[in-house]
Symmetry: C2
Subunit: 422 residues, 2 copies
């Protein structure tokens, strides 16, 4: 097969005619497929249905006898701390087990940094001028939204195959006191699927930052969300920070949103004991405590960390065929044509595809007109501005496999049409 | 019986001897009773045990077919909005149904006001100088803590029998642009048990405030928490605000913490549609949505507002004898002695008692030494400073009746001893 570059004008015209015909055929079918967000499928949620009824009127006490129905315990019940400390690879005094949303914990951690600073002697971010956050991109739109909401200037740093361009990042943080943080999805990254190398983790932990109140926002959303039998290994950033003499540099976040129930899971924040103490000393003003019953449900359901890993294998069985369908369809439609590059993730929730520069918006628009909703082009970049207008995030978890095949076929048609028109 | 004032020195000495003897007798028993917080008793929590298992693997969809296990719906499921709109006496577009903690909603509403201001065109509170909040006292310590945390200056206004000293409040807000808010527990107030009169509600709604970004934080924590068959009536503040041309003046909060489970209930925020839209436009940065499963549990359990009222009658049956025990014991020990005034609440969670001035700290300390933990003296005032050192909050909900009788007897002994020593 020839790449698009090698095609003659006549061949291009013929191909375009054929693609137009296929596109119109899709349009006439009036599909209504939604591939916009990384949402678990119902059959994934079914895996945790036992969670709904495993705490009963005969079992609502924690192991230490705490009545989980009642008030108290701002940082979670002890057995939940134990379970999720194992999950986050930290000690039990380095974790807070909270409500149902890790985004909530991230947002609130930013809010506290704005209002109170990241530690007792540090100035609140809101009282400092021109504060900024490094946003590796393509990345997670909801991270960027928090910065945008708080008027924190975002500095886009293009993702690499290793995850991060550490040379660029080191140079930025060494020279600008206004840079207060960096967003990271270190494992099976949203959307590129990359897992940070040990070198990247160690350089993040050790790099010199001009700001003394710099923090890494480590959203380990896909820590156990493997698609293969050879899980990616991610070095512990907290350990690396401790080794580098920067123990308080990182806030780590996680949740069971994509393990148990997306809307009714348990979220956690892990960090150095000093960070946790500082944050907990403020959390007491926010709430008398999280939903302990739901924490007890999770502990009862999982029993231990092995229970989490077992469940994740069942998730993989459901997700893998869908991710494979994306690969197969993209390969079949776009392979060897030299117009698009896409990832083949070993975990997480997304496949990321780069169209020819200047085509992503057009492609998403065309797909929409034919009934397939994709994540808006640009969403994976700060300010929704993809400098190359090329990145599209594919979220194949929710739709059935047959729908994914149709949606990706249409996507491929749109990409080819846009490439020809370009 | 003589009042303390009428006693001769000899009578006082004799009484003191007798009280000392009784106090020592208590000490020797080494009690360990905790009356510090308004915490539901286990038998109250038992009333809602059905909640634990009423959502099952066969029932997790909302009426409109939303899978409550999954992501989505930042402001609550429609049927929960309906139920709690009825509870808060507002329209369904005037409410957000959230997680398990109304304190969390209050805290976050303050945080948003600090960071973003209370409306699009208003300046963030954190960018204004010397901002202040009116704190009617005695009041709820966790309200005051939020102000203290945010360095918002608190202005203490002494509570009256009607609830609020409106002359003083009107004068304050009319003349100081720095006054941005007022905390209110308008029904069965914590701790005085008072319910605001219609006049107080109307004056709050209509008063001229120098600050255009003034807000009432209306913590209606005990809206349906009656102890008698003749519930107190509270005028709708939102309606009053609308009538007065200040529809956006009030944020109202409520929760099922003291209806179903204190730690695993549902919390709500109600306000004008404009306020709700402004807040919701920010909530989307904080979370993808609350725990919808727990909202569905509550709707399934209650069915409708009548279900809530029925449940509250059962709570009253448990609580009333405890509150009666407080009254009976106080009356027996302190009645006619002219040294203490206490409330006889018709609802809510507290009895409030005023000792002779300058005695509250001493009394709480003495009770502690004899094994009864009371809410720290001063806690009911901003900065933990009761200007008269006289107010003590009694929280009789949790302990068994026999323990309450012992605790209150000891409290009365301590008050008398302190009064004599004064």
């Amino acid at each position: 097969m020839n790449t698009f570059e090698q095609l003659s004008q006549q061949e291009k015209n013929n191909l375009k005619q054929e693609l137009d015909r296929r596109y119109e055929s899709f349009r006439s079918k009036q599909l209504s497929l939604n591939m916009t967000r990384g949402v678990p499928a119902p059959e994934q949620l079914d895996l945790s249905n036992e969670l709904l009824t495993c705490v009963t009127e005969h079992h609502y006490h924690s192991q230490k006898g705490v009545d989980c129905r009642n008030y108290g315990g701002v940082d979670g019940i002890p057995e939940a701390k134990e379970l999720f400390a194992a999950y986050m690879e930290v000690a039990t005094d380095e974790i807070v087990v909270a409500g149902n949303s890790s985004l909530n914990l991230m947002h609130d951690t930013f809010m506290r940094a704005m209002i109170k600073g990241v530690m007792k002697d540090e100035m609140p971010w809101s009282q400092q001028k021109d504060i900024k956050c490094i946003c590796p991109a393509p990345g997670y739109d909801r991270h960027f939204s928090i910065c945008d909401y708080l008027n924190i200037q975002m500095i886009t740093v293009e993702m690499t195959d290793d995850g991060l361009n550490m040379d660029e990042i080191e140079s930025l943080v060494a020279n600008d006191e206004g840079i207060k943080g960096i967003w990271c999805v270190p494992k099976y990254s949203n959307p590129t699927g990359v897992t940070y190398t040990d070198e990247v983790v160690e350089r993040l932990a050790a790099m010199k930052t001009k700001a003394s109140d710099f923090r890494i926002f480590w959203d380990n959303a896909y820590a156990v969300h493997h698609l293969t039998d050879t899980p990616a290994q991610l070095m512990s950033i907290l350990d690396a920070c401790k080794r580098a003499g920067n123990p308080d540099r990182v806030y780590m976040f996680g949740s069971t949103a994509k393990i148990t129930f997306a809307g009714a899971g348990v979220a956690v924040l892990a960090a150095s004991e000093k960070n946790i103490n500082w944050l907990r000393s403020q959390m007491i003003f926010q709430s008398i405590g999280p939903d302990k019953i739901n924490q007890l449900r999770h502990v009862t359901f999982f029993k231990n960390i092995e229970g989490i890993h077992q469940l994740m294998k069942k998730h993989a069985q459901i997700l893998k065929p869908k991710f494979d369908a994306v690969q197969t369809t993209l390969e079949k439609e776009l392979g060897q044509k030299g117009i698009a590059q896409w990832t083949n993730p070993k975990g997480g929730y997304f496949t990321s595809i780069n169209t020819p520069n200047g085509c992503a918006k057009k492609v998403v628009e065309m797909a929409k007109k034919a009934g397939v909703m994709l994540t808006p082009a640009g969403a994976t970049y700060p300010y929704q501005k993809d400098p190359f207008d090329r990145n599209i995030r594919i979220a194949p978890s929710f739709p059935p496999k047959a729908d994914i095949e149709k949606a990706i076929e249409l996507l491929a048609i749109c990409i080819q049409l846009a490439a020809i028109e370009n």
